[in-house]
Structures are given as C-alpha cells and as structure tokens.
C-alpha cells in the first residue's frame, strides 16, 4: 500500500521517486489517472474520409478511432468480445468493416457486431449480436480538430478540463486560418523511462535546455550568429503557465522570425504575419511558442512542430507516438523546412530528442537502486513565486520560464486523482486553492 500524500507534496516541492517505479502505483495510475482523464485520440487530418480509421491507445487500452458516415468520429476498444483478440491489426487505413482474425466475428465501422460465422449452426441463432459490440469510448470531444476521449462519465466537459490551458493550446491549434495537418503516420519508439518524466518536462522544464542540449546546439548550428540567437532566446525573459495539471512555458520573443525551421519557413511566417496576429493577438503569437503538456500525456513543442503522446507501458517504459504538425496549405518549401526541423531535432534520432531520452532513461536506471528509490527529489524551483494572470496571460503564471511551477501543478492534479477524489471534490479544492492565490496576489 502507498499513501499519496507522503509521496508527492507539491506545496513543498517534494517528490518520492517510487512514483516512477512502483508497479502498484502504476496500476493505480491506469485506473485513477488515465481512465478518468481526457486523452488525445486523433487529429481531423488523420481521418480524411468515411471509414478512415486509426489504431491508438488510451494508456494501455488499445482503441480504434473511426470516421463515421455522418462525419462524426467514434472510438471503441480494439478488443473482440468473443475471446479478446485485437479486432483490427492495421495501424490505419479505410475500412468498410472490421473482421476479427481469430474466429471471424465482424463489426461495422460504428463498432456494432454485425456477423458471427456459422450463426445458425454454431450458435443456433441464439446469440443477441446487439449485446456484443466492443466497449465504446462513451465521450469524445472535437476541440478545433483535435479529438479527445474519456471513459469517465463523471469527468468535467473537455473545455472545463482544459480550463485556462485553452488560451495556450489555441496558440498552436488556432494559429492559421486553414488550420493544421499532421504529417501522415506516427513515428513510434520505446524508451525505458516512466511517462511522468516526459510529460512533466514538456509541461515545465526549460531549465534543462541550456545544459542538456548545449552540444546539440553546437552540432546543429555552425553559424555563431545563430548560436548566439539561441543563447539570446534563453537569456530573454519568459513565462510559464500551470493549471488543471497542464503546463506551458516559453520565452518572450521579439519577433516571429527567425524560426528554428529556417529561411523557407520564415518567408511563410512573414507572409502570414497579419493573419497570425489577427487570430492570436501579437503578444500571444510571439510568446506562446514553447513547450506544452495537456495532462496527463499529450505534449507538443511549438518551436519544433512536434506533437506526441507518452503512452505508458509499465512504470519503467514509454511508447512514444510522435507526429510532425504543419500549417495546412503552406507552400511546399515551408512545409519541407518545417518537417526537416522536426526530424533533425525531435524524432527517434533527433539531436534534442536523444538528449532528453538519455536523461529520462538514465534517471530510471538509477532508480533500480534500493536506496535511490527512497531518496527524495527537489521540485522547488520558483516555489512561492507563482502569480496570476501575469501580463494578461490567464491562470497561474510565473514571471520566468525557469521554474517548476507547472511540474508541481501536474503532480498536484496527479495526486488529487490518485487519492481517489471525485472530480467534484477536485473542482472544489482547486477553487479554494485559486481563491487563496488570488487573495495573496491582491
């Protein structure tokens, strides 16, 4: 047994590292965190026509996400109700029906059982097919082309769940009139680390960048002027946001360009400058272009156009599914520049990706130690310096990008869910916390 209150103390910035290794905690996470939260399923551009489908996971549960005849999207467990085989074994495609490859039970694209082989002879026509469709994901929400799903009827609406993070999410999702598209196909790889290291870093950690990625900067940019630019970006002021377990952090950039994707992408940004400012406002367009996590495991990096889900695979393993995202209808040269930027930096062999993975897997290795597992971690950076609505940026904000406020926020939400509090109780607690912060500020 474990007591969550002993394990993470966000108000003190203390973390017991057994939360990254304990198999019992991991099982509790599947039930209390993942099965109760809104999880990213798919982007509109991945399901172009009726019958378009993809396989993904909600934590460890395999699900099929399918475009319906009426244009809506359904998702259901990719598990045959006969003896549990994966109903569909293709990663993605277009389907008219899904036939289980074990004994051939067949389901339509809405996830209804439509045929069982030898229904008359073997089942004596006594099976009620309407009762044996796969488990449906009961709630799916389309947020600006991003489909999220939850198993939990009690969970708040997606907008409520997102809360103030919507403003930061929109800086990515709402940037262009034509919207975004994902480069087809997820890039997938497995690393031996707990999912929270990755989710937390994308929510909250700009601090590692000048150290972990210094050799990467040297390798990528010969030109000392560009290197100076990267150094300048880190020296410039920045902000961080934390709310509902989500996090976003960024530097306050003086201009949209130069972008790390290079001159061809710069040309596109300059051409669309008015459009971007009109949609987001100049301040948000320039600032909110950094690291992000929507709790629990959906993250993106604006500067590298990479988006990913950290699928948990046991306490010590992550299956990373990552996509490059692009402005739809951008000129081919701009798209190419953007894709290359993603591949060079954040992909299985990306310069920065491998730096990050090395840290997480090494930390996980160290935690094999009996003593190491019982030695408390420090997550106190910026503790007590939280503010609210700084510069009109909504929610709990910090006046610097070098802080661990969003990490503490993520562990707070994690602990609330892990303690078995109802969503109602969590909402009330959060309200009280917010009132205290507001009182402190005024």
């Amino acid at each position: 047994m474990f007591d969550i209150a002993d394990l993470v103390q966000p108000d003190k910035g203390l973390i017991d590292p057994s939360i990254y290794t304990d198999p019992e905690i991991y099982q509790a996470e599947l039930a209390n965190v993942f099965a109760r939260s809104w999880l990213f399923l798919a982007h509109d551009s991945q399901l172009p026509k009726k019958g378009s489908f993809l396989q993904t996971y909600m934590a460890e549960d395999p699900v099929l996400v399918v475009r319906q005849r009426d244009g809506s999207v359904k998702a259901f467990l990719n598990q045959c109700r006969h003896r549990g085989m994966r109903i569909c074994r293709a990663d993605e495609g277009v389907a008219k029906a899904f036939t289980c490859s074990y004994h051939g039970w067949a389901y339509n694209i809405a996830g209804e059982l439509v045929n069982v082989p030898m229904e008359d002879r073997a089942y004596h026509n006594e099976i009620d097919k309407s009762q044996w469709g796969p488990r449906q994901v009961p709630r799916i929400h389309n947020y600006k082309g991003f489909y999220f799903g939850t198993w939990d009827d009690e969970a708040p609406s997606f907008e409520e769940y997102l809360g103030d993070m919507a403003w930061y999410f929109d800086a990515m999702a709402d940037r262009y009139d034509d919207g975004l598209e994902l480069v087809p196909g997820a890039t997938k790889w497995v690393i031996d680390a707990n999912w929270k290291f990755a989710a937390e870093q994308f929510a909250s950690d700009m601090y590692h960048v000048p150290i972990s990625h210094s050799s990467g900067f040297v390798a990528l940019f010969d030109d000392p002027e560009i290197r100076a630019l990267a150094a300048g970006a880190l020296a410039a002021p920045g902000r961080q946001f934390s709310g509902n377990g989500h996090g976003s952090g960024f530097g306050l950039r003086p201009d949209l360009v130069p972008d790390p994707a290079g001159p061809d992408f710069d040309a596109f940004l300059i051409e669309r400058r008015e459009e971007i400012y009109r949609r987001l406002g100049e301040q948000r367009a320039l600032a909110v272009y950094g690291h992000n996590t929507v709790f629990p495991n959906f993250s993106w990096l604006a500067t590298n156009n990479t988006m990913r889900v950290w699928h948990p695979r046991g306490p010590g393993r992550i299956e990373v599914w990552s996509w490059a995202y692009l402005p739809k209808n951008a000129p081919e040269e701009a798209k190419r520049a953007s894709r290359l930027n993603t591949v060079r930096t954040f992909s299985p062999a990306g310069v920065f990706e491998t730096d990050d993975g090395e840290n997480w897997t090494e930390v996980q290795q160290v935690l094999r130690g009996h003593i190491a597992r019982q030695t408390t971690f420090n997550a106190q950076m910026g503790l007590g310096h939280e503010q609210r609505d700084l510069d009109g940026m909504p929610g709990r904000t910090a006046g610097d990008m070098f802080t661990e406020m969003a990490g503490r926020g993520m562990y707070q939400r994690w602990a609330d869910l892990m303690s078995g509090l109802s969503w109602q109780e969590i909402a009330e607690l959060d309200k009280r916390r917010r009132e205290q912060e507001e009182a402190k500020q005024s």
Binding site: A95, K96, A97, T99, G104, A106, N108, V114, N115, P117, E119
Partner: protein, 123 residues
C-alpha cells in the same frame, strides 16, 4: 412475383465504387463501377453481409468481412470463401434514371443450370 421494371434510383445517387441498396426481399443492390451499373443480390453468399457496403472496383465487388469476390457482370465467385454465385438482375438506364427488373423465377432456372453445369464438369 413481380417481373415489371422498377425505378431503383438516379445515376447521381451512386458514386463510382459505391452501391445503392433496395429493400426488396431479399434485398438487391445497384453497383457502380466506372460508368457501368449492375444489379445483383445484396447479400454475400458466404455469411451474411450487405454488399452495398463493400469494395467495388473493376466490375467486381469484394466483401469486407472475409474477402469473397464476385463478378458484377455474371455474379460468379472470383475468390473464396463464398462458393455460390450472386443472382444478377436486369438493369437499364433511361436518361438519368436507373431501372431494374427482379425475376426470381428466371434466376432459379439459372441456378439449376449452374448446378447441373457444375455436376457435369465434375463427372
């Protein structure tokens, strides 16, 4: 048994590679492959599935359940696991309207011929 022509649908009701199902008993479907239209029984002869919701290509229809394939011109089985052909029905296009004639007696006669043919072939 009706042997008169009935209007099935308009040519614009069916895109290339799609089919339009009529709720006759048993149901039939009008299939479109390129600019050709065909009328056949709708139910796959293997298990139980509506071929209106299947893959239509190059004058064939492939059932998505277990990939049986039929010729849209003759109804013949082109790929297992189905073994019995699909009944075909008369079809004509007048202007933008598609008419079909479903004559089950004619079919039974044809099926008999098919069975005898198979028998003779085996002997």
């Amino acid at each position: 048994m009706s042997t008169s022509w009935i209007r099935a649908c308009g040519i614009d009701d069916i895109d290339d590679g799609e089919a339009f199902r009529l709720d006759t008993v048993p149901p039939v479907s009008v299939f479109r492959s390129g600019d050709e239209f065909f009328c056949l029984d709708d139910t796959c002869t293997h298990e139980d599935y509506s071929l209106a919701d299947s893959w239509v290509e190059d004058c064939t229809v492939e059932c998505p359940l277990h990939q049986a394939k039929f010729c849209l011109r003759t109804g013949a089985v082109l790929a297992q696991p189905a073994t019995r052909p699909l009944a075909t029905h008369e079809i004509k296009v007048e202007g933008t309207d598609i008419y079909v004639r479903i004559d089950r007696e004619r079919e039974e006669h044809r099926e008999e011929e098919h069975r005898e043919g198979a028998h003779h072939g085996a002997a």
